[in-house]
Amino acid sequence: MAKALPVPGLNPGTRFADAAAAAVGVRAREVFAHADGVLDTSNIERVHDMRVATRRLRAAMEVFAACFPKKEHKKLLREVKALADVLGERRDPDVAIAALEGIAAELTAADRPGIESLVDEMRRGQEQGNDRLAAALEHLSESRLEERLAVLARSVRRPESSPPSALNGTVPA
């Protein structure tokens, strides 16, 4: 699993809204950085990394919800959740298949045909999940989700005296 990228410039005194902009900006970029190769069922870690990145983004959006314009935040959070769901539909069979294959290897030869038949059923679910993920990824670029998330990250309310890029909180004494 890919380690979360650090969100630079944060400290205890950072304005909450600035922390929101920084965290959501980094977490959103992370999601799309993991989009390559997720449809490759021979490497199940890729879809896992993108799913984890999506979860982190969703968590950041929920934690910092109070800092964003309500309507756009709600809409984008729903879209991020839908992406997470479709990644989960592909990832869950990956995990289940790996677990069942591990169990089958530990049981007797007479036990294996039953477990293998369940694995076969799950492989069909994995393929369906992959088809849905392919459609979702196509929709992702059409809907410009990455760009709209970047806009959301920049849309937090700024104090009048601070430039938009400032992360200038101070550590309380």
Binding site: P12, A17, A19, R56, A66, G114
Partner: protein, 194 residues
Amino acid sequence: MKPRKVKGLDPEGPLADNARRIVEVRLAELRSFAPKALESGGQETLHDMRIAAKRLRYVLEMSEPAFGRAATDAAKVAKQLQDLLGEIHDCDEMLPRVRAHAEALRAQDAEALCDGAGGARDLEPGAAREAPNRARYRGLESLGTYLTARRAVLFERFVGRWEKLESTGFARELLDRLNRPEPAPAARADGAAA
């Protein structure tokens, strides 16, 4: 499960104050599920508790710049709890699938035997030897038994883990530590790697 609303968040206020409020609510939320989860061991409550542990973990991870090692350590505890509850959840999800799959195989076999009877007045027991899926039942039964037993073992472990956390006052300690933050391992003031 919808998260509890956190009141009094201020976008203009410092990260530490806001994060502390969120951690307090998420921690209380997690603990609120424990009595029912420990008593019933039911799938739904344990699932809710897993989601609560995940939410607590994420807010702690995000507030590491504000709370340093206190957040890092508590996030690890929340992750361990989430992982353990996740393993139980996997058993809960897999068991019905195993049963449903075995049931579907039985239905297929019954249909095949019925078709093979070719309009006979009765069916000989020996016909079951021709059931196309007959070699598959045993593995599914073994798998179901294993998952049931594993679930029970993991639940015992969860109970022990939770009781230990509560008896050592992890919640009180976490809230205390958030009020006197230490540098995070990767963000120490002297720049040294921890």
